[in-house]
């Protein structure tokens, strides 16, 4: 709490709190939801003007006493004025990944990935809303491709939707949406996200969705029509994804999630597949600068009509902020795809330092020990990555 205006804004946001954050550690500032700061009431999208102000006031390192009002630097492209009905945001995120080029590790290179170069726009005219993103990736994000270059970069569109605020706290929308499941986070490599296919990287699906959030409760239900940026139709999953959360206090939120999809041809297994995931999640900040995030889910995968393989996935993460803007995190994860097999569950420990060091910018270093994906039986080992993120 660096100023009275900031405190008042924080209290107001806490009162009207709604769905989860792309930076879920914000619960340490009393935010159990994110509708105040993100144009998507489920989070992870372009920031509102209020959210931009909070990013300046609370999230980045402060090198001088705060005046409460961050001024124009918080705005799009560091100060471009926009009509209040329009929010624009550009995001660029690059990754450095040192790796050996041969099994003996005699030579190393540093691999670079352009993970994100997105322009996002949100328009709100009365109760009508529209949102869309378009961007470029140097590789990966296959399920969000617009173009089809299998040997290099691609244009991607991760999300696009139109919606209507039916009543206060209730948004109904249709389009390509991130699935409402668990804690929404920018960390798309968390086993709990990748194993349930609920990342915000490229796991969005086309569907209809209702988001409700008032006071201490929030809920979201999405009917999934499939990913129409892959084909043919056999590969598209249909089903539902939903969550319900309750915040008994502004530093604690607990919730449940459920997901079911069915497809004629799973894009990984090349067989008919039904997937289920059901679980719980919680965010808790016993101190303003100490936050705990946790999820635990049961997963069921049925291939070609056979009995489902029952597994589980989850994590516990502690996020501390010793000085404003500098986060030191520890994450422990597990993932098991079939409890009946003899393979050891995939497990991973990750130490993270993330520094919001300047307006609109952060750098992140991760050192991990364990498989990158949910692959039980894999011999664990070390890896490290570095990321730089800039948003306009």
């Amino acid at each position: 709490m660096r100023s009275l205006p900031a405190l008042l804004l924080l209290l107001a946001a806490g009162f009207f709190a709604r769905p989860a954050f792309a930076y879920p550690f914000m619960i340490g500032h009393g935010y159990t939801g994110c509708a105040q700061c993100h144009t998507d009431p489920s989070g992870g999208s372009a920031l509102t003007e209020y959210g931009r102000a909070q990013a300046e006031i609370f999230m980045r390192s402060a090198y001088a006493p705060s005046k409460g009002d961050p001024g124009r630097i918080k705005d799009f492209a560091f100060g471009v004025p926009l009509p209040k009905e329009l929010q624009l945001q550009g995001d660029v995120r690059g990754l450095l990944y040192p790796r050996p080029t041969d099994a003996a590790a005699t030579e190393w290179t540093v691999r670079t990935l352009l993970m994100q170069a997105d322009l996002r726009a949100h328009v709100k005219l009365g109760g009508l809303r529209a949102y869309g993103s378009v961007g470029y990736v140097s590789e990966g994000a296959d399920l969000a491709w617009i173009t089809s270059n299998t040997s290099g970069g691609n244009v991607v569109s991760r999300e696009y939707w139109v919606g209507y605020d039916v009543m206060k706290g209730l948004l109904v929308r249709g389009g390509r949406l991130a699935l409402p499941y668990g804690i929404r986070s920018e960390e798309h490599l968390l086993y709990a996200r990748s194993a349930t296919r609920t990342t915000t990287n490229d796991d969005q699906q086309l569907g209809l969705d209702a988001v409700y959030g008032r006071g201490k409760f929030r809920a979201e239900l999405m009917g999934i029509a499939g990913n129409f940026q892959i084909g043919p139709d056999d590969y598209r999953e249909r089903g539902y994804s939903a969550l319900f959360a309750y915040a008994p206090m502004n530093t604690l939120e607990v919730g449940v999630s459920s997901l079911f999809t069915t497809t004629a041809l799973d894009y990984e297994a090349l067989l008919p597949r039904d997937r289920q995931a059901h679980g719980v999640f919680a965010r808790y900040a016993p101190l303003e600068k100490v936050r705990f995030l946790a999820e635990g889910h049961v997963t069921v995968s049925s291939l070609d009509g056979e009995a489902g393989l029952v597994g589980s996935v989850g994590y516990l993460q502690v996020d501390t902020e010793p000085v404003q803007g500098l986060h030191v995190k520890g994450t422990g994860e597990w993932c098991e795809t079939d409890h009946a097999d003899d393979l050891d569950p995939a497990g991973r420990g990750t130490a993270t330092v993330q520094w919001f060091f300047a307006p609109h910018m952060d750098v992140r270093l991760d050192a991990m020990y364990g498989p990158l994906y949910c692959t039980p039986g894999v011999e664990p080992g070390p890896a490290a990555t570095a990321q730089l993120h800039l948003f306009l």
């Binding site: 009509p83 726009a121 328009v123 491709w145 691609n154 129409f228 940026q229 084909g231 990158l372 692959t375």
Partner: protein, 149 residues
């Protein structure tokens, strides 16, 4: 150390079934089970005999160009590479849609029921430009309207 290689692979290996299909002019793309021991693939599970054969002939997940040379090298060495011991070279077997590993079903059934190739991107065959176009078009129209206001 093996993990670092495996992690690297996991970033981009989802393209490899399609690359194998193109290289061998197969009727369908093989599943991840060609090289991996799990249907979903994943880091560290590329332990099928066919994966070992490719690795022995210089295939590196860090360089997709090595796939073609490794496939050719495996094919040129006859039954040196015969993972299921049926007397047919692994690549020759794969080229006609059969599974060269000791266990597993064939990839491209001869009865024409081979799974269709997964396409990615709105403009690929089987992709849907309408869905993406509708969403982006609506967003663009709303943007224009907002600017007029």
């Amino acid at each position: 150390m093996s993990l670092l290689l495996a992690v690297n692979a996991a970033f981009a290996l989802s393209n490899f079934p399609g690359l194998v299909q193109d290289e061998l002019a197969m009727d369908c793309a093989p599943s991840c089970m060609l090289c991996h021991t799990t249907p979903a693939g994943g880091a560290g599970t590329a332990t099928q005999s066919f994966a070992d054969a490719l690795a022995a002939e210089g295939f590196s997940v860090a360089d997709t160009a090595t796939l073609a040379t490794a496939l050719a090298a495996v094919q040129s060495k006859g039954t040196t590479y015969d993972g299921n011991g049926d007397g047919v070279n692994d690549v020759d077997e794969l080229a006609v849609g059969e599974n060269p590993n000791a266990d597993g079903t064939d990839f491209c059934p001869a009865d024409g029921d081979a799974p269709p190739t997964l396409t990615r991107g709105c403009f690929a065959e089987g992709g849907d430009t309408a869905a993406a176009g509708l969403g982006l078009g609506l967003a663009a129209a709303a943007l224009r309207r907002a600017r007029r206001r």
